[in-house]
Symmetry: C2
Subunit: 226 residues, 2 copies
């Protein structure tokens, strides 16, 4: 049981898979499917051997550390189309943090061994991946330097578009329980998030308690880049 076509779309948005190309990616993933997690379910624990990396296909997951006093510190939040835990895997050690699903989620795991074998067989692949990493680095530096270029509503629109499985037409996406989580994910305060959502109403975005419905993803996408 492999991935469905919309799932492939999402997987191929990840820079790492883009770098490898669709053919090699498909060969590496084979017909393994994503695993489904419930809200609060563990993906891996701190200290587990880092024998692979992950690609989130649907839902949300958080990376967290437990401080000595038992308090949890959220290190990062991932959502659809993002890969994570590659660092630990490339270094070949153990996970320095735990990961759990924040909402129901589907997550694909890719074996380190398979990636390693692919790179050894075909060292050019390493260069492709480095090229992708460099490109992404440059892009992020740009983002830092001209963060002003995109307003809060635009960043939210962009985020919703990435979440949506479809690239045009209507869509509905699920939000994790707390909206403050999304706000921090997008680098803004909950208040700004709330206000910005109001401004998106004019573009066919309706927000319910735990989900968002979009009248036309393509229209929202156009607004996000503008």
């Amino acid at each position: 049981m492999g991935l469905s076509d919309p799932d492939w779309d999402i997987v191929m948005r990840a820079p790492l898979f883009k770098a490898m190309g669709a053919t090699i990616t498909r060969a590496m993933i084979g017909d393994r499917g994503p695993k489904t997690y419930g809200r609060g379910e563990r993906v891996f624990d701190e200290g587990d051997p880092a024998d692979g990396f992950f690609c989130l296909i649907e839902g949300w997951a958080k990376l967290y550390r437990l401080r000595e006093d038992g308090e949890e510190v959220v290190v990062a939040i991932f959502s659809a189309g993002e890969t994570f835990a590659e660092v630990a895997m490339f270094l070949g050690g153990r996970f320095p943090a735990g990961c759990e699903a924040v909402s129901p989620a589907r997550i694909l795991k890719i074996d380190a061994a398979k990636l390693r074998r692919a790179v050894m067989d075909q060292p050019q692949l390493a260069f492709d991946m480095l090229a992708a990493a460099s490109m992404r680095l440059r892009q992020l530096v740009d983002e830092i330097e001209h963060l002003k270029a995109r307003s809060a509503p635009q960043r939210i629109a962009d985020f919703f578009v990435r979440q949506a499985a479809a690239t045009s037409g209507p869509a509905r996406i699920a939000l994790p329980y707390e909206k403050a989580l999304i706000a921090s994910r997008l680098g803004m305060k909950p208040e700004s998030f709330s206000r910005a959502l109001g401004k998106l109403a004019g573009l066919g975005v309706a927000v319910e308690r735990e989900s968002v419905s979009i009248a036309d993803v393509a229209r929202l996408a156009a607004f996000a880049v503008g």
Copy 2:
């Protein structure tokens, strides 16, 4: 004739070289020195084979494309401590843009062949570089999402500190002819740049027409991170 010690400091600030580690970097660069370019001199042209990448040690260079109507579009501006053209090199094709020195500059070129050989000999190196790239990515994401709180004066201070060869004490750095270029490089308008410079006067930064003198680099660095 290898690099001088302050030059090494600057080279090792580049993430790519950090990833490889000082030993391999030194082995790869060997005793090749940087080439000196005059203002307006070509570093490479669009369409040249991408047989290496570059590290800017002193001065400024711009990456540009010529549109069909002959108009020049500046794609990026580089200054001390930055590497560029890695993407084209990793992909092993031709340069998709031209590059020329905007001010007198010293630029080090690293052969693709040497890097390629190092990676082929020692595929683990590719993983190390990927791990470093991923780590840097994560770090940049953090910077975007949390630490976007750096004011214009702070960004300028940070920029000047990176430019300076020394890490403490007084320094003088050269600016390219138009300050608007620096402003765009730092993601702000020339007006804001001008005003922000005024605020740095209190920290021992004196601006002349084409250069800046800094009373104490360490003090400026402290302000930049604060």
